[in-house]
Amino acid sequence: MPQTTIGQVHATSIAFFVLFVLVTLAITYWAAKRTRSTKEFYAAGRSITGFQNGLALAGDYMSAASFLGIAGLVSLRGYDGLIYSVGWLVGWPIIMFLIAEPLRNLGKYTFSDVVAFRLKQRPIRAAAAAGSLTTVLFYLIAQMVGAGTLIKLMFGLPYELALAIVGSLIIAYVLFGGMLATTWVQIIKAVMLLGGATILVLLILNEFNFSYSELFSRAEDLYTSKFMQPGGLITDPVDAFSLGLALMFGTAGLPHILMRFYTVPDAKQARKSVFVATGFIGYFYILTVTIGFGAAIIVGHSAITSIDAGGNMAAPLLAEALGGTAFLGFLAAVAFATILAVVAGLTLAGASALSHDLYVGVFRRGVSAEREEVKVARIATVCLGIAAILLGIVFKGQNVAFMVGLAFAVAASANFPALLMSIMWKKFTTKGAVASICSGMILSVVLIVLSPTVWVDIFGMEAAIFPYKNPGLFSMSTAFFVGIAVSLIWPEKEAEEKYADLKLRQYAGVGAE
């Protein structure tokens, strides 16, 4: 065992964490007075600037799994870990080129608003809400199980207590402060995470006289030149492309990310926020590369795996080695804040799918008083927060790493194709959209269950029925194909006629809210 205080309760980590909680709760109190209407609850009154939203998007997207997980993966597998650093970023330009501005111009609070813009409200709302909720729930389970495990590792708190703390805090943020409080929690977290990672990289480079050639030659001495080139992580080309597609287009179909574009006043600010977010997220993933190699050299493989076999503690161990327990305490608080910001975003997205899409759009047929909708959204928030805690407990000790991949596969297959076709294709119909969402959603879930990841590794069967680990290539292309085929077989004249309105609003912002 290496010399480490990880897993003990430090005064510094508690102090940083308590400070973070106090500040965010104060913000929630301030935001609560500004969170009464639906526009305020779901979209922070559209008062967020492009730059602020860029930071909040980064805070919403960069999860603890990507911070601790990718740094750990690079530290243990070298170049193979870099493949993930790249993969998590490349979806953002797609959001910029195809999604952000039309989404902002056409919708109000959720991406279902856009799909339902010229199609029949009830069936679209029901299908899109199912797609959103499936994505959010898989992502939420992965985050909660990760949260319980990480907090237990870093603070030594019992798993269930950690989940209860996370669950109650996010209920407090979202229930009282809505999108405004969630946004500021995400902004503060993004600044803490980017700042902490930057300091860590500077401390690493200081050890190598600020020379990358020195850093990499030390890595080569220790782990041979194989460490600096791709190894066994990606072997099958079909699997590699399938994973790439899911990461790229899944990013553009995540409900909690798409929802953030409604917090800015107009399409111009929406595009600015993608540029800012892409810059910060890209910068962060480049930092994780240095952190990973630094941990491999300074901490070493045996010490990293002795604490956690998956390498998740590589960055915290490195922080302790270079910056002492104070810096470790700070980083532990950052990891906690990271979890809270992502889970708050997911809860809000889930609550809006339940209240705005299902309750108002389907159950009340689009007619509901403002006050009633906010009330339903608040009830949904509490239910989801409690569900998150319970799901985390149910899946305790399970291997849930595949659920993040599943969330991205569902987002890329159920949400993205319907969203893109509703914006770009005049002949897209209600039946086509419902068929596309359902086929993409069902196929991605079924294929993952039949894949080696679940069928063999979790169910313990001998051979997988579906040979690939990533269903994205198949489920996403099927969703597009089904959507196109059904729309062509059963045309919808009314939807075609309404495309003119959509065009005016999408390209010239006429009538955008």
Binding site: L82, P93, S213, D236, F275, Y285
Partner: protein
């Protein structure tokens, strides 16, 4: 906003059709470039692993600048789009609105 604008005039205006075509062309070209670069990177990993292990300087392999370069390039592409949209697109939209609404 823009209550003076006659939507029918705007839709039938040839400048509006040109605007839509321009915007879609830019979006799809940039999307195609992004897909090519990323799947080019994945293709190298899937088919040409030894190439990525070629040393360029000391112990640094060419794979490392390629990976970091893909991230920076993706961001630069969003920069190109925002530059085009802020300088050209917004101006075209305003011109058409002025013409039709005035």
């Amino acid at each position: 906003m823009d209550v003076r604008i006659n939507n029918k005039d705007l839709l039938e205006d040839p400048d509006f059709s040109r605007l839509v075509a321009r915007k879609n062309r830019i979006s799809w070209i940039l999307t195609a470039i992004q897909l090519t670069v990323y799947f080019g990177f994945i293709g190298l990993i899937a088919f040409y692993k030894p190439f990525l292990g070629t040393k360029v300087s000391g112990s640094i392999t060419i794979g490392i600048p390629i990976a970091v370069g893909t991230i920076i390039f993706s961001w630069a592409l969003t920069g190109i789009y925002i530059w085009w949209a802020n300088s050209r697109y917004d101006e075209m939209v305003q011109k058409i609105k002025d013409k039709v609404g005035g």
